[in-house]
Assembly symmetry: D2
Homo-oligomer: 299 residues x 4
């Protein structure tokens, strides 16, 4: 079992279950399936270090929404998906708060890694307006948004840039958006994981080397992630398992290190998910704002 | 054997050989290995319909350059690669010619499909200058360049757009650049195929539905292609073969239809290969132009 | 009087009136002010060659909508502006029609020249879907959309590219979107001119050299234009006139040839107007489609 | 006299001289004309507060290179311009240094404001390589590069973002690149000002509100600026002066606040100057690197 292959706690738990005997109980983990706005939701809570070790993920809560219906492009599905993500996100956010920093991770020049920057372009940025024009914008929350780029382009870890900004603008918490990896093709680009554990190194397409979480940043870090890539070794392993073929350990690691596997219409998915995440964040942060009002602000 | 999995004639021939008994001869195909400017070159000539049927590619000549050394980023490798591509390209181009149209196929919003549009941004466009300022630019060849986009964004087949432009600007021949698919990971983004057979449907990342060749366009079509994606089914099949596992036919076709497999640093590769192809084309079309002069023109 | 300084028939008429004695009547021109959806509308009809000569614009109808309220970003203003543009556009469109080609002119790399390409990115493209999936999309109009780029980048006149595409896809009419020049600062980026006379050379930011109209294209050409630049000579002349200073002819022509004058927040304006024009065109072409449905299609 | 209209110390000095009687001496300012690599260079040194008040610029040294010849696009002009900028820049840089941060200011979505981000895309970023692969890259200087975006998009002042990054990566000095405003059309896009005084509020296209200099950043700030816009009031005032027309104060301030004036081919200028500045910075920071080597690194 290699949990590094998935960034979804839900999948790590599925893998654990498949590899365990029926009678074993996964201690330190509470899981529950649910439905929100008609979408299936899985809630995994890792309650202690035993659970964390078993799933290879930090202690904290992980909510996964399955938004498969958005592929149908019905008129009612997008607003419903935005509300569902907003509802789950709002559970992790304090009742009252001041400035918020939203961070879009990833490389905008590699399509499956661009979900963070795509979401950022859908965020209503208000921090400068609230401060300068309190009469007009005073009832809005001060929100700042940055896309710190990737190490290869800036020479600086994303975490270093974020930490620097935090010191200056002193937000109450940060929301980080990133591309993740999944083990299941059917989850690609149609799933959102929301967690209070931030971003764990080694996730997703790129190669973040430092965690972005409460410990490293000094404040609460809520992460929204969308699986946009699947590890090729996982696909081959699943396939080999189906046909009962034992694979030697590490046989596929070279593939995994070098290759990206992503849907063919990834550009449309990135644009869709960037809008859903951005609008959901706006909805939570700017209390009661409607989709029409966001359209106005952002057009 | 499924030649649809590779756009490289060289690989189709390799597959044929692996699947044939030693004594069989591939009729209708002449192949020869060579070296140009220090790079390995494979030349495959399909001479008749028997050869075409065996390799699943149209009758014509296919030259494949292996430019693996460019990964080392030595100062002398890029100019040497540009010269090698230019030398091979020049063999397919008539001694004397008038206007040339260069076409960059593919979707610039999906990184591995953007090699054509990347090359176009490196083409020295002169048609309007030659016509308007003959005193200054009269010694340059009239070159036009377009990126017709993809069907999903325009609603029009690339071939239809190109045919329309051809009628108006009446080039002597066209050069088309596109992303291809390969069966070998080690060829990804480091190989150039040059052919006089144009573009065959089903190639590469996107889903061209009509051929772009002498027959459909009414004039010679030279195609430059770079394999940027590998069929996932091919990877799994190769793997299964290595471990002597028989796979049922079609077991993997769903994967192939839905997924892209491409290198993790695809953005850098696309930029590198776009520059090499664009500069090689300039070198051939603008007789004797140097890299420094191209830098000036294009900066 | 220099009508080349404005692409708006309404302004050409204002200039004519200012320079004429009260008793003169502008023959060959019918003008009327109106209100549509709460926005001021001016309708100028040039009925014969005498009117055309007086205003320096071709015979045809010109409708100008003043959308100044969109600066306020009220939630109801955008939908109201989209409806107003759609209502005026629909008057120029036949009751029943087949394929339509929408063309976004201009250089996307120069912000004030990018209104055409911005509008194109908001067009619902359906031609390929209607043809391939008639059961699902059969009730939609077949719409194709292209951005032919600019002469300096392609070496080909926009008009040549459009003519070529027309031959292949045989639309019933085309809709062309372009940036225009105005003589009045207060009209910049907040005005839409809709005309059945197509695009006249010398308009706007770039340097179209050939007309794109019924005569050159062989089918009806409806043009939507937004003034995004003002001629600097016009500003200085107006100023000189206010302070009663006679200017020598041509004193300012060098300025006009070399310089662009545009609002400082031009990026926001281009994005706003691109969305309003694109959505208005969708509304007219895809009978009865709502803004929410367009949001789904285009996200 | 309104020095807010120009960001060039050289022009502020010219204005001062024009408005002064012949016998007055400009105290606190030392000026000298020179030639570097065949390009005219003006050196203005503001030595005390009296000079600073007279010119409306902080105490420090200002070098202005006139690179008009690059318009001719001769093959030797670009390398010569890069060397000239590098030579002048190197005079402001200490003999020995550690990490350097290069900052590209401005809004990449407004063409004349994009010279900073254009330069950043030409910077060789090495900080992460030097640290991780000292055997291979140990002889290169550690260079990081960021484009902090604009207040309207992030909600955060550029200066705040830079200050945060400085705290974490602790560079020895920073180099900041920005668009400036000029009073002379002939200087637009063909001039580089290099200064050790950093960036002064109110410069250029956008609206920086805080200075980025040694005082606010806590370390040396070298600024490279290119005038890409001219204040429209200045054009009208110059014109009025030529024709001996007294203008009331402030008559033109509304124009200046709302409008950008920039060359028509601004996209080409931004790309040219971005490359010259980026390559000049590389040349100075990466001791002895050649243009060919930079081409390799950046392609």
């Amino acid at each position: 079992m290699n949990n590094a292959r998935t960034d979804l706690a839900q999948e790590a738990r599925e893998v654990w279950q498949e590899s365990s005997s029926d009678t074993t109980k996964l201690r330190g983990v509470i899981a529950r399936d649910d439905t929100v706005n008609g979408f299936p939701v899985s809630r995994v809570k890792i309650t202690d270090e035993e659970g964390a070790a078993a799933l290879g993920k930090p202690v904290g809560s992980y909510t996964t929404l399955e938004l498969r219906e958005i592929s149908r492009r019905d008129i009612e599905t997008f607003p419903r998906a935005i509300s569902a993500v907003a509802d789950e996100l709002s559970k992790l956010i304090p009742e009252s708060f001041g400035t918020v920093l939203v961070v879009g991770l990833g490389n905008e020049h590699i399509t499956p890694d661009a979900v963070g920057t795509s979401a950022i372009s859908n965020i209503i940025v208000t921090r400068h307006l609230v401060h300068r024009l309190p009469d007009v914008f005073g009832r809005m929350r001060p929100v700042a948004a940055v896309a710190p780029g990737v190490l290869g382009m800036t020479g600086i870890e994303s975490g270093e840039i974020i930490r620097g900004i935090i010191r200056h603008i002193k937000p109450d918490f940060i929301i980080v958006i990133d591309a993740l990896s999944s083990m299941r093709l059917e989850r690609l680009c149609r799933t959102v994981q929301i967690t209070d554990t931030g971003i764990t190194p080694g996730s997703g397409v790129g190669n973040a080397r430092v965690a972005i979480n409460r410990e490293t940043m000094g404040l609460p870090v809520i992460a929204l992630g969308v699986p946009t890539v699947v590890d090729i070794a996982t696909i081959i392993e699943n396939f080999a398992e189906d046909v009962k073929l034992p694979l030697p350990d590490g046989a596929l690691s070279e593939y995994s290190e070098r290759l990206l596997v992503t849907p063919k219409d990834i550009d449309v998915h990135i644009s869709d998910m960037g809008r859903i995440l951005g609008y959901a964040i706006n909805k939570v942060l700017q209390n009661g704002i409607t989709i029409e009002e966001m359209d106005e602000f952002l057009s």
